[in-house]
């Protein structure tokens, strides 16, 4: 059947977007609620629409572009002048670049799990059950993970806005024109060239740009939500807990040679006893001192 041919390339590209989806949605566990909504919007309203609909609308963009001349080469040259990059490729690149910062979060989580596993093994409690628990542990978005998450959202915003700007530079009008006039060599004079399916392309362009704007708003909302959560956490923590947490954080960030110095001076022992407000099990673990 004549329809069989176009289906094949769609399946291939669907397979690869499918693999991509599997990779990106793995990050979903450590996202906020807004992050999950953003991911669904990306996949349903952008990737699916791109693959299912937009690619067939732009499929004949070059073959259907005809100029009112028989001069060979004029079609190619005029097409290249008015459409340096196709909308489809711009959107595909935009989607790929916008989805990848989520992998920063996945890498951070993997790194944390690795560090925890190593520490657990060193303490001699590396039973398979505990290791499984570490593998399935869901981390709270606090501390370093909060910063990684924040940076990933900011990169998403930067890529999203950058592509919208590039789109605006190349195609200043969101409307696709029906007719363009071209006089590059080898066209003999100013020829009329006709674009294929301009109205359908305009509709899809407006749709994709709207969804892009919605995604930018979702990202901004997520940034605001994370900041609000962090502020709430800062304020609701009681005084001495905050102090102990601060001291603990400072101790954890000592470098190796500073630890050496403190051990050599025998002054670490006194500092540890000051912070020992927590239950006795912590004292047991460091009972070597």
């Amino acid at each position: 059947t004549p329809l069989a041919q176009p289906d094949e390339p769609d399946l291939e590209s669907k397979m690869n977007w499918g693999t991509f989806y599997a990779v990106i949605s793995g990050v979903n566990r450590h996202s906020t609620g807004i992050g999950r909504i953003w991911l669904s919007v990306i996949f349903i309203f952008r990737i699916l629409v791109l693959v299912v609909a937009a690619e067939s609308v732009w499929g004949d963009e070059k073959s259907g572009f005809t100029c009112n001349t028989q001069q060979p080469g004029c079609n190619s040259v005029c097409y290249d002048q008015f459409f340096p990059i196709s909308h489809i490729r711009l959107w595909a690149l935009q989607l790929i670049l916008v989805s990848t910062p989520a992998l920063l979060v996945a890498m951070h989580v993997a790194h944390r799990r690795h560090v925890d596993k190593k520490a657990l093994k060193r303490s001699g409690r590396g039973s398979p059950k505990e290791l499984e628990h570490i593998k399935n542990q869901k981390f709270q978005i606090t501390g370093a993970l909060w910063w990684t998450y924040m940076i990933s959202i900011i990169f998403r915003l930067i890529f999203e806005v950058a592509f919208l700007y590039v789109f605006y530079l190349i195609y200043p009008d969101f409307k696709m024109v029906r007719l363009v006039k071209c006089d590059s060599y080898p066209c003999p004079n100013t020829v009329d060239c006709f674009v294929s399916r301009p109205t359908e392309k305009t509709i899809f362009t407006v749709f994709m740009l709207t969804v892009s704007g919605v995604c930018v708003l979702l990202n901004l909302a997520e940034v605001a939500y994370l900041i609000a959560r962090a502020c709430k956490r800062c304020m609701s923590r009681p005084e001495d807990e905050a102090k102990a947490a601060w001291i603990t954080q400072r101790l954890s960030s000592y470098r190796q040679n500073e630890i050496n110095q403190l051990i050599a001076d025998h002054s670490l022992k006194s500092k540890l006893t000051v912070t020992k407000k927590s239950p006795t099990e912590q004292g047991e673990r460091c009972s070597a001192f």
Binding site: P9, E12, S13, M15, N16, W17, T19, F20, V23, E55, K62, S63, Q71, P72, G73, N75, S76, V77, Y79, D80, F83, P84, I85, S86, I88, R89, A92, L93, I96, T100, L103, M107, A110, H111, V115, A119, R122, S123, Y185, P186, T248, Q249, L251, S252, Y254, Q256, I259, N260, I263, L268, T275, S278, Q282, R285, C286, A288
Partner: protein, 251 residues
């Protein structure tokens, strides 16, 4: 070309890579394979059918296309990706060889000892399958060789692309006078700007991958030098204190 199958194969080798190796794999699949399949193949799809020369002479277009595009960019990039991914299989081959030797050793030792808990042997074999070998000794050398090969293939293919196409820019117009073209004819390439954009993108991604490989090489060498120093008592105390502080920080 079944890229998902290659991805599945390479994911299996991910367990024995360093973190930089895992980052390299993600960059390879997201910024190169995905972009190749999703975008670049549609840009180069009509490269020959839309290559038009300003003549009606039959055969002139074929001949001129063949002269200016001996190997298509898409094929060069697919070959490059296949060649660059395969040295990782060296590492997985070595790991399976090690596992095979250890398995044989376990089975032989159980054969010699007449009274042996078969369950204990099964557990040992299970841990053998699931363990992650530290990158030391012969595995270190294998890994290093695979990195060197990756960099050679990466650089080799980029250089080949640069030499065959005289740079990374695609010209709009080429002039050709091969037989049977009657004289010097103008031939027009389809979508030259879009092709230039993608060529530059793929070259950039390729360079990023090379930089990652260099970084991984430096990391491996540094790790090996670090391992050669014997651990002092001071270092043992340090790691214990560090572990205590991590736990304190967690609670």
């Amino acid at each position: 070309m079944s890229w998902p199958a290659l991805y599945a194969q390479l994911l299996g080798t991910n367990r024995h890579s360093t973190s930089l190796g895992k980052v390299w794999l993600s960059v390879l699949f997201i910024f190169r394979v995905m972009v190749l399949v999703v975008a670049a193949e549609s840009v180069w799809g009509d490269e020959q059918s839309d290559f038009t020369c300003n003549t009606l002479q039959p055969g002139c277009e074929n001949v001129c296309y063949d002269q200016f595009f001996p190997v298509s960019h898409i094929r060069l990039w697919s070959l490059q990706l296949v060649f660059v991914s395969t040295p990782t299989l060296l590492v997985s081959m070595y790991v399976s060889y090690r596992n095979h030797c250890d398995k044989r050793r376990i089975l032989q030792s159980s054969g010699r000892a007449s009274v042996l808990n078969s369950k204990g042997q099964e557990e040992e074999l299970e841990t053998l399958k699931k363990r992650r070998l530290p990158i030391a000794g012969a595995l270190w050398w294998t890994y290093l060789c695979s990195l060197v090969f990756k960099m050679m293939f990466e650089g080799g293919f980029m250089y080949a692309l640069y030499v065959v196409y005289d740079g990374f820019q695609m010209p709009r117009l080429v002039q050709c006078d091969q037989w049977p073209c009657p004289n010097l004819v103008d031939c027009f390439v389809s979508r030259p700007t879009e092709k230039t954009v993608f060529t530059v993108f793929m070259a950039t991604a390729s360079s990023i991958c090379m930089v990652l490989n260099l970084a991984e090489l430096a990391y491996l060498v540094a790790k090996a030098l670090n391992r050669m120093q014997p651990p002092t008592n001071q270092m043992k105390i340090n790691s214990f204190v560090y572990f205590c502080l991590i736990n304190r920080g967690k609670n």
